[in-house]
């Protein structure tokens, strides 16, 4: 059973001619003996939308926090907008937007005060954009932050993060706990703003559907390790589940780029990362193999097979 290696992932990163907004090389974060992010390497091209998918504790938030300069790295290096993350200063932060999972805006502030506060600190603040977003999200400026629901707070966080027109936007599970309507409105707000500008976005989420809908490429994380980083359409097009019946006495035939292999008595299911019709021909001609078929997979199934294939 094989998994996608770091080398393969790097080879899949955008061509050198495309400007790179985020470059990560062997990024590692450990707390004592516990490794939270393990040797992560990837590149994100300018203007692209990357979805980070992973279970709780997969290292998504830690990665984003390191990239935003809020956490020290243990090993490895990364650069954001051409600046190493250790050297991120106010100038670079003015070009970065960050929406965390729990919005810790000062609770005593009114929305008007929160906007005023961020506006005074951000040199690139766009009043029109802010007004538009507040209107889109139906946020009443007189309301206090502490009186906002989780969904409204997430929208305020997004409005504040987008109003200074960032070149790079980190969305760290911003929709966790939101109802489907609030979640959709949130994503619409992101899409509306991002589509107007050449903004690079990294979205981490548990909601695989949302990530699939939004992202150009997807990075699957599990226990701090990157399992795959591929274009969204490629991952769905290339990853297939092959079903066959095996009556032989020996081990069943193996397939290249297998992610996960399991069986229920005679029936075998093998998920392969890079499917080709030749695999089917080869498998069908193997002794003891019959009833070979191939099935498309959803992104959720792909993710689950990647994770389960690890154990």
């Amino acid at each position: 059973m094989s998994t996608v290696t770091q080398t393969e992932t790097i080879a899949m990163s955008p061509k050198p001619m495309v400007p790179i907004d985020v470059e990560i090389n062997g990024l590692t974060k450990a707390y004592g003996d516990t490794i939270v992010v393990d040797n992560l390497s990837l590149s994100i091209a300018k203007g692209s939308f990357l979805g980070l998918i992973g279970a709780n504790g997969a290292g998504k938030s830690t990665t984003l926090k390191m990239l935003a300069g809020m956490l020290e790295t243990t090993r490895g290096s990364a650069s954001v907008l051409g600046t190493p993350i250790e050297q991120l200063g106010p100038k670079e932060l003015a070009r970065i937007g960050y929406v965390p999972d729990s919005h810790q805006i000062y609770r005593w502030m009114t929305i008007h005060e929160a906007v005023w506060f961020c506006r005074r600190l951000n040199p690139n603040w766009n009043d029109n954009q802010c007004a538009e977003l507040l209107k889109l999200f139906r946020l009443d400026e007189k309301k206090k932050v502490k009186s906002l629901s989780k969904g409204m707070l997430a929208k305020l966080g997004l409005a504040l993060a987008l109003s200074h027109e960032p070149d790079l936007l980190f969305l760290d599970e911003p929709m966790s706990g939101l109802d489907p309507i609030a979640s959709e409105e949130f994503l619409d707000g992101v899409l509306k703003t991002v589509s107007q500008r050449d903004c690079t976005v990294i979205l981490s989420s548990h909601s695989i559907d949302d990530v699939q809908r939004m992202s150009d490429s997807i990075c699957l994380l599990h226990e701090g390790k990157m399992l795959a980083h591929r274009q969204t359409e490629n991952i769905l097009h290339d990853t297939k589940c092959i079903r066959f019946v095996y009556d032989g006495n020996a081990e069943p035939p193996t397939l290249p780029s297998t992610i996960r292999s399991r069986n229920d008595e005679r029936e075998w299911l093998i998920t392969v990362e890079k499917f080709s019709p030749l695999m089917l021909e080869k498998l069908a001609s193997s002794p003891g193999v019959s009833c070979v078929s191939v099935e498309d997979m959803t992104l959720e199934e792909v993710y689950k097979d990647y994770v389960r294939g690890q154990s």
């Binding site: 935003a68 300069g69 809020m70 956490l71 020290e72 200063g89 106010p90 100038k91 670079e92 932060l93 003015a94 970065i96 960050y98 965390p100 729990s102 919005h103 810790q104 805006i105 000062y106 005593w108 502030m109 005060e113 506060f117 961020c118 005074r120 600190l121 951000n122 040199p123 993060a161 200074h164």
Partner: protein, 234 residues
């Protein structure tokens, strides 16, 4: 400058509950002292005398109690935000850690100077009302002890500020600051007195303690500042 003023405004709003507490701490002793004086005054005393005595005695209590507020402020400024996770929001704004720390210190400086001046003003007004010796309160207003109490406030603030730069809980920071300050006081009373001034008495007003506490306080503030700037995580 714009950033520092904005962040100082944020500090003011963020610590407004502490400010209300501080005003109560300042006002109550003066009110108590004035009331007690008015109730127990000699028949021949004028109202001006009674009020003056209350203001002067009360200001002694106010300035001493306000040291506790300085301890709370020092412990709360950094650890309070870290505990409440509001630093995550603040650190994402395009301002340097140094600017954030300086705005906190500016707020604390304005607060402490305002407290000190206000209490001094009340005591001075009391003194001006009668222009005569009213006993210990009069001595206090006229002495270096008035300055020393302010430096004790600075020391309490500095130690809890330094603790606050390392810890995530403001109450623990205050306790750590109080413990560290107590150690400095014991050092002053036991070691410094015997080594440098054999005839030194705690009850005598002297500049030696001020000259020792002040550099310790400044060192603790700078150390806390550096620690805050260097610490990467919010």
């Amino acid at each position: 400058m714009n950033e520092i003023l904005t962040l100082t405004w944020k500090e003011y709003r963020n610590n407004i509950h502490l400010l209300v507490f501080a005003i109560s701490v300042l006002a109550l002793p003066i009110i108590w002292a004035t009331s007690i004086t008015l109730l127990n005054a000699r028949p021949e005393a004028t109202y001006a005398d009674m009020l003056a005595a209350g203001m002067m005695f009360g200001s002694v209590g106010s300035i001493i109690f306000s040291q506790f507020v300085m301890l709370c402020l020092g412990g709360h400024l950094i650890a309070g935000e870290r505990g409440g996770r509001t630093f995550e929001f603040l650190f994402l704004q395009p301002v340097s850690r140094r600017t954030i720390a300086l705005s906190k210190l500016l707020f604390a400086f304005v607060w402490s100077v305002a407290t000190w001046l206000l209490v001094g003003f009340i005591a001075f007004c009391g003194y001006m009302l009668t222009n005569q010796d009213n006993g210990p309160a009069f001595d206090f207003v006229n002495s270096s002890f008035f300055v020393e109490v302010a430096v004790v406030g600075l020391l309490l603030f500095a130690t809890s500020w330094f603790a606050s730069s390392m810890l995530n809980n403001s109450v623990v920071s205050m306790c750590a600051g109080a413990f560290a300050s107590t150690c400095v006081f014991i050092f002053l009373l036991l070691v410094v007195r015997d080594r440098f001034e054999p005839t030194f008495s705690f009850y005598e007003y002297d500049w030696t303690r001020i000259l020792i506490m002040f550099p310790i306080s400044v060192t603790a503030i700078v150390a806390g500042l550096v620690r805050f700037i260097k610490r990467k995580s919010p």
